[in-house]
């Protein structure tokens, strides 16, 4: 699907750079051992910016829920309607969720609880790669 191209900023640039290398990373606070996504300037647990790092993920997760979008606000996605948007919980930390259009899965045929594997899509406007997820079992 023709997604919008994210424009990396100071805080999330390492995340998007990793996507371009087809690696999934999540920001982690070494002090709290607490991950957060999207990345932020400070840890939401200890409110410190001193111990933030980037942790590489396995790219494995589970679908926890989904919707079928029939009326999107995003102009470039309107021609694709209806489409799935699923919530994926990462295997390393189910508190970390990501969104996915679930390429390869029929509209409204999303298997809640199914395992998924990350892949990376190139967005048309800038070529920035973004994470996507595909059902693997």
């Amino acid at each position: 699907m023709p997604k919008q191209s994210p424009i990396p900023g100071d805080i999330d640039k390492p995340f998007w750079d990793a996507c371009n290398r087809e690696v999934l990373v999540v920001q982690n606070c070494k002090s709290c051992d607490r991950m957060q996504h999207p990345p932020k300037e400070k840890c939401g647990g200890c409110n410190s910016s001193d111990n933030l790092e980037w942790r590489e993920m396995s790219g494995k997760g589970t679908i926890s829920t989904y919707i079928v979008v029939h009326d999107t606000p995003v102009t470039i996605l309107q021609a694709e309607q209806p489409f799935n948007v699923a919530v994926v919980k990462l295997d390393e930390d189910p508190g970390i969720t990501m969104l996915s259009h679930l390429p390869g899965t029929a509209v409204d045929g999303v298997p809640i609880g199914a395992k998924v594997q990350v892949e990376f899509e190139t967005t048309p406007a800038t070529g920035q790669k973004v994470p996507e997820w595909r059902v693997v079992g």
Binding site: H37, I67, V68, H70
Partner: protein, 442 residues
Amino acid sequence: MAVNVQTPPDSMYRSTEGLGVWEHKGKVAAVGIGVSPTARRWDESPETSVGAWTILAIRNAMEDAGVSPEEVDGIVLTPDTSTGVSWPKDRPIPESFVETFNLTDDPLDGIVKLSVEWILKNMPELTNIKFAMHAPTCMSNAIVVGAQAVGDGMTQTCLVVRGWHNLAGRYYVGQGAAGMDTIAGPAGITSGHGVPACGTTAMMFQEYCHKYGKNHDMMANFVITEKRNGLLLPEGYWAQHRPENLTVEDYVAARWIAKPANLYDNDLPICVSAAFVFTTAERAKDMKQKPVYILNHTRTTPKHRGAVQTLDDWQEAADETGRKLYEGAGIKNTDLSFENMYDGFTEFHQFHLEGLRFAGVGRGEALDFYQTDISLEGPNPVSPSGGNAGGGRTRFWLHYDSIQQLQGRAGARQIRKKAEIGVSGAFFPDFNYSTIWSATPD
């Protein structure tokens, strides 16, 4: 002399458990309410601007309370007047608006936003304002701040104010970044998949149904009840402009916005303003209206760590809000005569209801509860205001109705059981400001 408009400090909120009974329990009261007319969209005449209608609502509230403008010494106002369509960048503001009102440095003030400064520039009768705060996002926030401010003695007679504008165009659709082929900031992670406004709620609702074996059709009686209650709210948009009944067939056949959320699970953006008058319980004794006492207020803030919340996040947050409300008010769930928790989107409501354990309803039980008698006439009145679904998108009908119910002047919406204690609050389960109201101070 210019009034220093402050932002509420964290110390004004009751955000954690273990604080005990609120120190001002029963010592602050709502004594007046006022609203403007409603409209679907702004017609661009100055008389119907959000500024003008907020002035009208404030004057109505003061008249309702029987207080003179010079008696009012405080104001807490929500400066946001929409979450949807924005004013086009290069478009000039209507000349008639410029000619009618005293403007602030921001030419859009009074049109698509509202400040205390604008109100004071255009309500010269408010000569005695010494305390002013902007409580962002939601009138529920302004209510919490107003209650604490009166309790703390920062103001004796305080206006609590919220206005809404609605311009031509569709909420969010093609607005700002949504209309571009690039997206910056955290939105690149959270918004790039094209999720509409109701989408996160629909995701949580889907997970809820999957976990507990429920389905979307089970929402019908709740939404129909809300619409019915809303048509009994003469101040509401639907009663004034589109008095249309909703049937089960209408509901289940409605088009999807983000399945499992359909058209009727979303609210209708409108133009309208409301104002309440709060004062001390001592002063309220001899006033025109029966006082409605505030027993407690709470704030709950998001703790989730991912791109979207999880079902666990929402259920834990709703439970936390319920526990905090009861602890601070010194009451139990069985003391509630009714509940008026947020409904815009309708699929929020069962999370709030379960968090409160309203009528003994626990996790996963609300949709079964919706199949029982939840009407105004029944033993467990749910959302007697009709909420956003029944009255239009305001986030304040729930509070307005709670006050009226406890004063015994809700008219055709008056619940048939005795109204003694009620609760109202908005908006997300995990981003929430709620209040316990009572007909008596203890």
